[in-house]
Symmetry: C2
Subunit: 344 residues, 2 copies
DNA sequence: CTGTTAGCGCTTTCAA
DNA sequence: TTGAAAGCGCTAACAG
């Protein structure tokens, strides 16, 4: 059962204006091949009928939907800022977003189902925004081969043939480690993110390698396995205070875990940064108001979203042989250490 | 220019299986009016060709898109959890989501443009998820009259004729105030959210009325105008310590501002909760790891998203005369005070 | 400049 | 049980 008050169609307008459908089409597409007179008649017919073009029909005939799909995983809010960057750019150049959630540890079949459901709707491209996890079946060559629309992945290890946009986690973590080491810390622990995640492994690798290069210890008891949640940060700090009492600094793979680590340190009467310096990662909103304000690495998530979108549009334009207008300028990636009270 | 390798269509399958298009349609729609024999032949033709039904064409003919639009405003991440509730339910009953961002203070024309762009794509309904703001043109009767698809609004003052899903902010704030008053606090300040927002006004109203009922003061210098950001919470606390020195408790309209308020109190050497008790609102993720952990009101945003989605589907089902299956059970709304260290 | 004729890929009649 | 024809609302290709 369809709703009663149907929308006016191009035919209704044509009838009313006494011209052919095609002329209507020309008018609503700003074709120059219409006389001013006719155009005016059509325009008023359009207004009288409250006519609006069906984008759906247009997509069907044109083969373009000006819609991209964002496949994400918001459980831990990883992508909210990055997502804001995507929407900003998408709005600017007239693209709509259809979003799909997929578990980070989704299996091949689920990923395939999501991909297909998207392509079935004629989306122009896919922004696969789930950071690489060890399983990440969507990064497998046999999977990618089945995606016959432009696609850009976010935050994964480089792979030949794939377009991947992401942050250089190793370089960011180096900034953090360099700061701790040059400010004289000698017993630097690490609370790591889940090791199945590429971004977490990169940060940990930088921790380990920086310590090695500086001739400092990086034993197992200096490392704690976290899961991005503050509770795990708290456990990590508790672990270090007990098993690595000489600890004088902690590099935490994520600000949110840093929140928990700081809480535990305070509860145990340690002074930050006098007794223990703490550096987080990501400049999570609010980290500048933690107690004490958390020194961290600005990760520029918004830029990531914008850059990924821009890269996708470039592929789409190439794919369809058109050119998207109004793409905003990409602001430069700011890659920096934000020094705050927790590690001056 | 269209891409080269076109997808197989229903006609291709028909040709290959040696039957009519209609029969293919019957098979892919699980019609019982197909012989087992034919069905098998069609099935294998489908597989051989890797055929997938075009959802776009289906939407056009059926008049349904099984897609709803979510109009939101993620700038301050208000809705991320609530949004997770929407996606969960949408996935479960086979709905896709197309999201649009709109400034909280968008004018009538912009709101109309967004609404139209959505309806032009044949979305089945709209979830207008921007909390009411004084301008909120989309809540105006003349606006609503133009939306000829099912629509549900979130977090707005009740209005006859509109379906609105939201949290009872007044009741929640009462819980907070009751806790402070019964635990003996007598000089209770308030850091308010933006007064153009309905949810902020409700919380403030509860603060004022609870104080009045308890015979306590609620003068202007006991109130500070915040903007949800922690910086404003910090300013608020600074203001009270200077202009309302007898303050022994602060009810903060949002946890995020509470973070800033706590920081300032610590910096000025005040003990929380001994000197000043603090209660936030919303149980923002991480508030249980603030220093000290923040007593707050659980607002159940996830439930809000789920309930709003369920309400919308109900309207859509009525509108189209169908019935959606697989809707998950709505878990009950948990409406509670979470007592933590900042206000035991 | 304008109209006619075909589709886009599917569903919905109505016959057979 | 199957098929033919018409149409969803629009655009593209070709005539005039």
């Amino acid at each position: 059962m369809k709703p009663a008050n149907k929308r006016a169609t191009i035919s209704d307008v044509a009838k009313r204006a006494g011209v052919s459908k095609q002329t209507i089409s020309r008018v609503i597409n700003d074709s120059p091949l219409v006389s001013a007179d006719t155009r005016a008649r059509v325009q008023s017919a359009i207004e009288e009928l409250g006519y609006r073009r069906s984008e759906l029909a247009r997509m069907l005939t044109s083969g373009r939907s000006h819609t991209i799909a964002v496949v994400g995983n918001t459980v831990h809010f990883y992508s909210s800022e990055s997502y804001a960057g995507v929407t900003r750019f998408a709005d600017a150049c007239g693209y709509s977003l259809i979003v799909k959630e997929l578990a980070r540890d989704a299996d091949y079949a689920s990923a395939l189902a999501v991909m297909h459901s998207l392509v079935d709707r004629q989306i122009d491209g896919i922004l696969w925004a789930i950071p690489e996890c060890c399983t990440s079946p969507w990064l497998l060559p046999e999977f990618v081969r089945q995606i016959n629309v432009p696609v850009v992945f976010m935050n994964a290890a480089p792979r030949p043939g794939l377009t991947i946009v992401g942050y250089d986690n190793y370089a960011g973590a180096e900034l953090a480690m360099h700061h701790l080491i040059t400010s004289g810390r000698r017993h630097i622990a690490h609370i790591a993110g889940p090791t199945d995640m590429w971004i977490a492994r990169e940060r940990e690798r930088a921790w380990r390698e920086c310590l090695a290069r500086a001739g400092l210890s990086h034993d197992d008891h200096q490392r704690f396995q976290g899961d991005w949640q503050p509770a795990s940060g708290q456990l990590g700090m508790r672990h270090f205070l007990q098993h690595f009492p000489e600890v004088d600094a902690v590099f935490v793979a994520g600000d949110y875990m840093g929140l928990g680590a700081q809480l535990e340190a305070q509860l145990q009467g340690r002074k930050i940064p006098e007794d223990i310096a703490i550096i987080g990662f990501g400049n999570r909103p609010g980290s500048d108001f933690y107690y004490p304000p958390l020194t961290t690495i600005e990760q520029n998530k918004r830029y990531q979203g914008e850059a990924a979108f821009a890269a996708l549009i470039e592929k789409i334009d190439a794919f369809f042989g058109e050119e998207t207008k109004n793409m905003p300028e990409l602001e430069p990636l700011v890659h920096q250490l934000l020094v705050r009270a927790s590690a001056p």
